[in-house]
């Protein structure tokens, strides 16, 4: 496992399956803080976008991250505290916003949505939890893009993303005007891991049969 990790590190691409780690305790522990752990490791305290499956999950994920922020000691916080005051019509958004966390989806009030976009671009909000629709149309570059679960809501049920959607979401990572690197993380079920690994490394061979 170690040599495998080192080899992948050299290629700047990691694959980690929690189940490979020893002991059940480690496994259960790591369940609890997966998203915060990913953010801690990769965000470098820069703007973050988290893609979620449904609108409701955007809200719940934003609440969890806001709670993480407010319960952490100021020195341990994973992103900066907003330096200005702002107010949203949406109550949930108002309370997560105070922690530098927002959610963004098509059901949100027009003014709130525009304000989220502006505050994120200006650096007052550090995290946006959104659905895949934000990957097209709105130009909101982030340093770290996380695809949290590779499913989307489609035709009344959860479906895996198609390749193009994933590429569009990953394309949000990196801010040409501020950064010289961007980071994209795909969090998926272990059985889909190889598929996404092939997709991001561009080794999915196109064949006709």
């Amino acid at each position: 496992m170690t040599s495998y990790l080192i080899r992948n590190w050299i290629e700047r691409k990691w694959i980690i399956s929690w189940a490979y780690r020893s002991g059940k305790f480690v496994l259960t522990q790591s369940y609890n803080d997966r998203l915060p752990e990913v953010i801690q490791k990769h965000s470098a305290r820069k703007p973050i976008m988290v893609f979620c499956m449904t609108r409701a999950m955007c809200i719940s994920t934003a609440k969890v991250l806001a709670q993480c922020f407010s319960t952490a000691k100021p020195a341990d916080r994973m992103w900066p505290t907003p330096t200005i005051q702002f107010s949203f019509r949406d109550k949930d958004l108002h309370s997560t916003g105070a922690c530098g966390v927002a959610f963004h989806h098509a059901g949100l009030d027009q003014n709130d949505r525009a304000l989220v976009e502006r505050l994120f671009l200006e650096g007052h909000l550090s995290v946006i939890c959104c659905t895949s629709t934000l990957a097209v149309g709105v130009n909101l570059p982030a340093h770290l893009v996380v695809i949290k679960n590779t499913a989307t809501w489609s035709n009344g049920g959860p479906k895996e993303y198609v390749d193009l959607e994933v590429m569009q979401m990953l394309g949000r990572a990196g801010r040409p005007q501020f950064d010289d690197t961007g980071v994209a993380v795909i969090m998926t079920r272990r059985e889909h891991q190889v598929r996404y690994e092939k997709m991001v490394s561009g080794t999915e061979i196109l064949e006709s049969w």
Partner: protein
């Protein structure tokens, strides 16, 4: 397109297709020289102005997508 013999000169392929040379071979240079490879040019990650590091994390997944999603957040 190959069979109708149209006058298409450029074909752009998706970045998700790594085996563009196979497609160039299949397509051929022109109908009269279908055995020779069409010219192909590849623009890879090195052309990116902002380098992108990509990570894929796989997690054990008991339960449906809602359960899985919650577990990805926290307990």
């Amino acid at each position: 397109m190959k069979s109708v013999g149209s006058d298409v000169r450029f074909i752009a392929l998706s970045a998700t297709v790594p085996n563009s040379a196979d497609i160039a071979e299949w397509l051929g240079k022109c109908p009269s020289a279908s055995q020779s490879l069409a010219h192909n040019q590849r623009f890879g990650e090195e052309f990116r102005p902002v380098k992108l590091q990509k990570f894929v994390y796989g997690y054990q997944s008991p339960g449906n997508d809602f359960v899985f999603d919650k577990k990805l957040d926290r307990a």
